[in-house]
């Protein structure tokens, strides 16, 4: 009896810890999307720029950010200011560095996805809009972007689902998100249970995301 009771208590404590960590995981997830999508659009624009220098720089950016581990980027963003400028940015900087590194990294992926979508648009759509008198901005926001969004949605969904799982990488900066807490609990309890519970959290989160994205995709399937 005593044993079961204790097991339940441990379980409840673990759940509470993970739930607290989950809030932080959600914050990393949400803020990364918030910053990386516009930044990705910007880099995509730069990548397609007619100005060679801009285009080359954006290419280099994409290539490096996609070609090196996100974990390494996290460490660089966090420790960089200290080793380069000898400045110490305090404890809050752990979280900020996480958001910066995640946003920079995901922007590179989004930039390439957006570029694929924009380049798949036929010239005729721009020309029809031009001849009808739409301005450049109107053409972009009314004609091109809505169609591009539909086209890139499957790839963007993939990235979003990966991002949910990638938030666990913030552990390397000891940000107290869910996975960090699961690790701590696991080693304290000498049990894999916290990991399994954490896995369940990630999975449920992604189930929900999948559900939402499917709905969005459906809402755009009125044309092909």
């Amino acid at each position: 009896m005593e044993g079961t009771n204790q097991a339940i208590q441990t379980m409840v404590a673990t759940l509470r810890q993970l739930t607290q960590g989950f809030g932080l995981s959600l914050a990393i997830f949400g803020l990364t999307l918030l910053f990386s999508i516009p930044l990705g659009l910007l880099i995509c624009k730069g990548r397609m720029s007619k100005i060679t220098v801009v285009s080359l720089l954006c290419r280099l950016y994409i290539s490096v950010l996609r070609g090196t581990p996100l974990m390494l980027q996290l460490l660089l963003v966090y420790f960089g200011p200290y080793y380069v400028f000898r400045v110490s940015l305090g404890n809050d900087y752990r979280f900020i560095a996480t958001i910066i590194a995640f946003s920079l990294n995901y922007a590179a992926y989004f930039a390439e996805i957006f570029r694929g979508g924009i380049q798949s648009m036929s010239k005729g759509q721009y020309e029809a809009a031009t001849v009808l008198g739409f301005s450049k901005a109107q053409t972009y926001f009314k004609i091109i972007l809505p169609q591009v969004i539909k086209r890139v949605l499957p790839s963007v969904s993939n990235e979003i689902i990966t991002l949910v799982k990638d938030t666990s990488l913030a552990q390397v900066l000891s940000v107290a998100e869910m996975f960090t807490r699961a690790s701590a609990a696991a080693s304290k309890q000498v049990s894999v249970m916290p990991f399994i519970v954490a896995g369940l959290f990630y999975y449920l989160m992604n189930l929900l995301i999948e559900f939402i994205l499917n709905r969005v995709e459906k809402s755009m399937s009125y044309y092909s």
């Binding site: 036929s122 005729g124 759509q125 020309e127 029809a128 809009a129 031009t130 001849v131 009808l132 008198g133 739409f134 301005s135 109107q138 009314k142 004609i143 809505p146 169609q147 539909k150 009125y222 044309y223 092909s224």
Partner: protein, 256 residues
């Protein structure tokens, strides 16, 4: 403004256009009067599309002059074309319509929105006005029932008629057609040609690039035969088709 003839809707004077080393238009002159229907025929690669694209601001000419509805789009200065400012260019765009070979409808817009979007957001008409114009045009195109459909659910012929309605909506002074039936199955071609024929009867000013010789002969006032970037021959439609003067025209027409 004194030398602008009000009855001339389109004036193209000695335009040249090259892509890299290839001179696609080698000095083209065309004048179209109000109410006139001009068919442009000729073998593929002869520069017909490029001519229409230059007239509709989609390509810029290297030299020569283009005047549409009395507004100078570009004028020749020392052998180079100088274009008007962006503001006038946009104004000129509201004076013509262009119908593409492959329609280029906006797939994410309903038929109605394809037609009304420019009316509302470029020409600043109210939604009610735009809808009224749209309804009138759809009736004319025999597409009243399709206002809320999306282009992907229409046949090619219906899509092309929507695109004609879209071009007509802003009440342009002239409409250009670039092979409007070339992407269509033969049985769908008829409906589109009928619509264009009706427009001709209403004295709509039109320039039509087409391979439909009998249509060109019957509907156009004048035919221009283009080959190798030049106008080889032009004349009254019936006469050019039945009694061409130039060898190249004869050879081309013999293929039909």
């Amino acid at each position: 403004m004194s030398d602008v003839n009000n009855d001339i809707v389109l004036e193209i004077k000695d335009i040249h256009k090259s892509f890299d080393k290839l001179e696609v238009l080698q000095g083209i002159d065309i004048t179209v009067e109000r109410g006139e229907v001009v068919a442009v025929i000729g073998p593929s690669g002869g520069g017909k599309s490029t001519l229409l694209r230059c007239a509709t601001t989609l390509e810029k000419v290297d030299s020569g002059k283009i005047v549409i509805g009395g507004d100078v789009l570009c004028d020749d200065v020392d052998g180079h074309s100088v274009y008007c400012d962006k503001k006038l260019e946009r104004e000129i765009r509201s004076k013509f319509g262009l119908v593409f070979q492959n329609f280029n409808l906006f797939p994410h817009f309903s038929v109605r929105r394809n037609i009304t979007e420019a009316l509302i957001h470029v020409h600043k008409k109210s939604k009610e006005e735009a809808d009224a114009i749209c309804d009138g045009l759809l009736k004319k195109m025999d597409l009243e029932a399709k206002a809320d459909e999306y282009p992907c659910n229409l046949s090619g012929g219906q899509q092309q008629r929507v695109s004609i309605a879209r071009a007509l909506a802003t009440n342009p002074e002239i409409i250009f057609f670039d092979e409007p039936t070339s992407a269509l199955d033969p049985e769908l071609t008829k409906g589109v040609l009928t619509v264009i024929k009706e427009l001709a009867q209403e004295k709509m000013t039109m320039v039509i690039v087409t391979h439909e010789m009998s249509f060109a002969r019957d509907v156009a006032d004048r035919i221009v035969f283009m080959d190798g970037g030049v106008i080889v021959e032009e004349g009254p439609a019936y006469e050019l088709v039945t009694n061409p003067k130039q060898e190249r025209t004869k050879a081309f027409l013999a293929g039909y």
